[in-house]
Amino acid sequence: MSRANPNSTRTLTLPEELEKLEQSITLTLQEIDRNFSRAHRIVTTSILPVVEQYAKHSEAVWEGSKFWKQFFEASANVSLSGYEDPHNEDHTGLEEDAALSEGDPSYATSQPTRLDDDTENDTIQASMRRAESEGADTDEDDSTLLLSSPSIGNAQSTPRPRHRAAGKENTTMRDVPSPFRKSAAKQKTSDLPSTPGRDVDITASSSPFPMSALQSRVLFSARKGTAHQDPLLHRMLDKTYRIAATPHTARREPKPSAVVTPGLTTKTTLPHWLNDSPDSSPAIAAPQLRAEIFGSPFKSNAQRTPKPTVRTPGVSVMTPGTTRRLSGRDEGTSMRMDPAERTATSRFTGTAKAWDSDSDEDEDGLGISPPKTMQFHVPQSRLLQTPAREASKRIVEDLLFTAGGDITDEIEDDSPSVVRRNHELDDSF
């Protein structure tokens, strides 16, 4: 009997404890089920409709601003697109949201050029940014919250493998390096009128965005040590967005016809992006005086007929193709302005090209000739032997007089650089 009592208490206690544990497990599972159902209900009934509504409104906003994006892109002769930065070295391995969302086909279609190069597809999985790791931390916190109740550990096993698998699947989507450099190189070899120094600062100056803000963002980012070609656009909680500026290819090169050519605003042909919205045309106004001053009648008449031009406002100093534009404009204005103003703007004309036969090729390619500072290749001694000096002096005098400028005194000094090479001069040779 002395042994029977402990045995009987054990046989009674164990089933009780077992029963108690089973009930506890059941209750916990019910609670888990209830919580998941509640979460699903909240997501589907509360969050998703709001997000869809938000998407609708964002779509409307984008529709409204799409034209202006095309406008600026056409004016800068680049194609801008924000993309998600695939290179984030300090990723910790959990890439739930980014990996899943980056599989969005819309993202891929919006970046067609970036799909050309996917050499690093397999390496990206380890690359995530710290913000993403922060997001992963929050996920882990959530997991720990879920795991705070006992016997819930099984619940987490379902989504995790899917996330990782999805992350692997989507590596091809997001680990596409920007073709910006390559495009810049292409642009370098294109037959666009090249401006000295353009290729050097194309990365910094091609973006139409204020570099100061971008640089500040880059500095603000923790990963400034990792050099990246593209400027940083956005850094969200778990994603880094950068700007890919792809210079337009030869197909779009006729667009530089919108490049500033002063005095040719009487042309009727507009760039195609202006044809869509005639409302934007009033912003295009150009002084007509400059061409009359700086183009010799012979030259300007030759140019005028086949080459319609519209001056594009908002030409960004930092956009590719703008350098040429800017230099052209400043060349024009520097000739028009007073000497003081000319010196003020002369710092922008450092890229002026010498007049040579290549310019004609540029004109053929673009259909337009930006104003150039005419420089004589004729030696001064030879020039003095020809009647061109007298003729050119007279022409410039007349033109300046017509323009209202009373700088005839300066003509003596300026004539060699002001006078264009004209047919009279050519005849002398």
Binding site: T26, K69, Y107
Partner: protein, 89 residues
């Protein structure tokens, strides 16, 4: 004593040998949980996709906004350089 031990052993064998009602219920509950988690996962995936699209659109809008901002600064610079800047009416 031997009888007690045999009874105890038999009791344990019976208890663990047959499927307890709790286990059945728990397996049902687990399947429900798994189903709910899958639904929730799909919902979150849809949510993420929507948010991704929205972010993409908003990024373009942000690009436009920055371009406008830069354009404004360029215009200001140009007008100041050419001394054509006039006070607002």
């Amino acid at each position: 004593m031997v009888d007690h031990i045999q009874y105890f052993s038999l009791n344990i064998i019976l208890t663990h040998g047959q499927e307890s009602p709790h286990e059945h219920q728990q397996s049902l509950l687990l399947s429900r949980v798994i189903t709910n988690v899958e639904k929730l996962n799909e919902a979150v995936l849809a949510l993420n996709k929507s948010l991704q699209e929205i972010n993409l659109q908003n990024m373009n809008v942000e690009l436009v906004a920055q371009m406008f901002k830069n354009y404004q600064s360029n215009v200001l610079f140009h007008l100041e350089a050419t001394q054509d800047l006039q006070d607002p009416a």
